[in-house]
Subunit: 429 residues, 2 copies
């Protein structure tokens, strides 16, 4: 929360920065020009903006869905601003205070520490960890007495909180809302007061909470008798939720098969990115802030009619995949995974490096059994379906279709069994 | 909160006690027999019931409206039970936490102490102070951390609190409810948990809060893993609001002219009680627990048709007034004030004891000025109205009607000026 500055000339450079930052996102309740002016003032005065991001210490495993907001944070860092990450441990250590949900025990001090550490290590693939400011909100909430808590609650009305979409829905549908749930958005908003945030980043599901943070900053300034007209309460930058690789629902741990995880191997990450539907390319490029606005516009133009422009969307996708793999691994790994991918799928070549297994010479093995045994499919029945669907090949070319087919090798003989697009094993007798 | 006991024989004595206690009140959510059984068990086991009454440390001046609930508490004391008075200082010391209401500053530690002391001194006219247990709820609320507060809030739903009549009305009418207001009934309910109340006394406007106290006891027993089936959570005894002396609206400091205050003189108290409409006699006798059920029934019968039964309601009223004056002063004062009253109004005699003032001999004083100067009326204009209305007499008989009338005394002469029914002054020259 810096002090407001008088109107002045806006340099095009900062407007371009602001446009890139807001790309694909929703800036509230301010204009791109206002953001640009604050970016400019921050640099001119040498007082960086404080960019707040809340971190949930209950879920440390990150996927590209989380990268959307982390990438934005990194962009602010690169522009010289201060990333402030809040670890919401004050409530995580409470668990379910109703006592009804025995399956949601409170997180211990240690759990929070471990989860936050894991989260940060993974987030370090995107943001610069050396300059990030980490704030555990237990530091102020655990010391907060009844008086201050009542004061916090007094800043909002019941009707106001009930406008929050999920609360409104539950209240209207007579689904119980325990009263303590009303406190969580207030606490999140109070975090903004305490860390003096200039801008808060959040998913679109955080609209109410993040805007409340802004209001709370104004309310507390009033309580302190400050001149509110001189205040610059936090702006809010809301980011859409990224779709999973199937392009249907948002990327979520509930659908692990459509998740691209920060911890995936370069090869897996590249392969998964190449598997997204073409009409998702632009969305990924936008939300993951891969291209600046002008280049993004060009891609949009090309992808609208690839034939007319003589391009293959697959090439644009590969460029994006390389960029992302390079970020989570490195440039070499990105090159290698691209080459591996091209070799396997475009040139129909087999990989050079794959698991190996030995079979007894002269013995007949059912293909289905081999697939299941070596965990190339989750079960025999899945293996059967894969064979029936034409997804199982020998030596890269011989497609199998008989579910009862067997494999018999002579001594010294070797064969490659391929299941689906990316699973291989070499059997030798 | 005692443990439930198996069903057993109920002695008629305890049923009679319970009936007297419940007279004019509403017992929730239990039957008179259940209360009787708990009274009996308490006496048999030597473990008195704990009777809770919340005390508001912001308003120390008591009138007969407060006596309704205090009298009930005294009856429990007389039956050997434990009165537990809660001083709700935890929130009183917060004041208006919204910061909007500058006119409602928080009470200081000292204010609370003084108010509570004043309250108790006055309440001591009705209850026995030597055995009452005083609990300031700041002792547990000031030490309550965020975790415990969230746990408290988790015990109720938003919909449940919005059923409270005043909240419901305000929510429906779009009158803002600040969120912290939701916490007050929870805190009051938590008081019941902490003091292990067996029964809570309250006005009918406390229905929601007091019943929540009962629910909260059950909820916390569950949290502690106790066997709830063995629990006897608090019963609730709701008492109606007593009407002011005009019989129209409830007795309240907003209408001081219709209040009978604990600190009124015996004479004033007697006079005010005699001024209530006849159809309020039974209501006062009931709510102030002046008569046991059988005698009350008899009064009801007599008052229904006084002529047929050859009685004058005024005599019943005088009996009630004497009883009440004896309680707030003493038996002698009650006798004296009755006699004074009879002398003045029934026998049209003047009181023997009254203020005196000296006038200059031979000088003419305007009656209006004399009335105003000696504070027999609030202002000259009121004095005028009183004269015009025939409420001003000289020497008990000469009714004045001229607002410009003057009084001139010769040396040694004396006259009594009477304003209204109970104000007298003797002028001597």
């Amino acid at each position: 929360m810096t002090q407001a500055t008088p109107q002045k000339t806006l340099h095009p450079e900062f407007l371009a920065q602001a446009k890139f930052l807001v790309q694909g996102a929703e800036l509230l309740p301010a204009s791109v020009e206002q953001l640009a002016l604050r970016l400019q003032t921050a640099i001119e005065t040498g007082v960086p903006l404080r960019i707040k991001l809340g971190l949930d210490p209950t879920r440390p495993d990150l996927h590209l869905g989380h990268a959307v907001v982390l990438k934005k944070l990194r962009m602010f860092q690169d522009l010289g601003h201060q990333a402030v990450m809040i670890i919401g441990d004050a409530t995580a250590m409470v668990g379910d205070p109703s006592g009804r949900n025995k399956t949601r025990p409170p997180l211990s001090e240690e759990d929070v520490q471990i989860n936050a550490q894991t989260y940060l290590e993974q987030a370090g693939k995107v943001i610069k960890l050396d300059t990030v400011e980490i704030v555990r909100n237990s530091t102020f909430f655990n010391a907060m007495g009844l008086n201050n808590l009542l004061q916090l609650m007094a800043q909002v009305t019941v009707a106001q909180i009930l406008t929050r979409e999920d609360f409104n829905k539950r209240y209207t549908e007579n689904t119980p809302i325990a009263l303590h749930e009303f406190l969580y958005p207030l606490m999140q908003a109070y975090d903004s007061v305490m860390v003096k945030a200039d801008l808060e980043l959040g998913g679109t599901d955080q609209r109410f909470n993040n805007l409340l943070g802004r209001e709370m900053q104004v309310a507390y300034a009033k309580l302190k008798g400050e001149d509110v007209s001189k205040l610059n309460p936090q702006m809010v930058l809301l980011l859409p939720l990224l779709e999973g690789t199937d392009g249907k629902v948002k990327m979520s741990k509930s659908y692990p098969e459509h998740c691209i995880n920060f911890t995936d191997t370069a090869e897996d990450m590249f392969g998964k990115l190449m598997s997204i539907p073409d009409d998702l390319i632009l969305r990924y490029e936008t939300l993951l802030s891969i291209l600046p606005p002008d280049q993004l516009q060009q891609h949009a133009m090309l992808l609208e009619d690839p034939v007319k422009h003589g391009i293959n969307p697959r090439d644009i996708k590969a460029g994006m995949a390389k960029y992302i793999v390079a970020q989570y691994h490195d440039a070499q790994a990105a090159e290698a995974s691209e080459k591996g991918f091209v070799d396997r799928f475009r040139n129909k070549e087999l990989p050079t490096d794959m698991p190996e297994a030995t079979l007894d010479a002269g013995q007949a093995y059912t293909i289905i059994d081999l697939i299941a045994q070596h965990e190339l499919a989750a079960s025999k029945s899945e293996a059967k379906r894969l064979v029936q669907g034409g997804g199982v090949k020998l030596n890269g070319t011989d497609k199998l279709s008989d579910v009862d087919a067997t494999l018999t090798l002579n001594a010294g003989e070797s064969v490659i069994l391929q299941v689906g697009k990316r699973k291989f094993i070499r059997f030798t007798a």
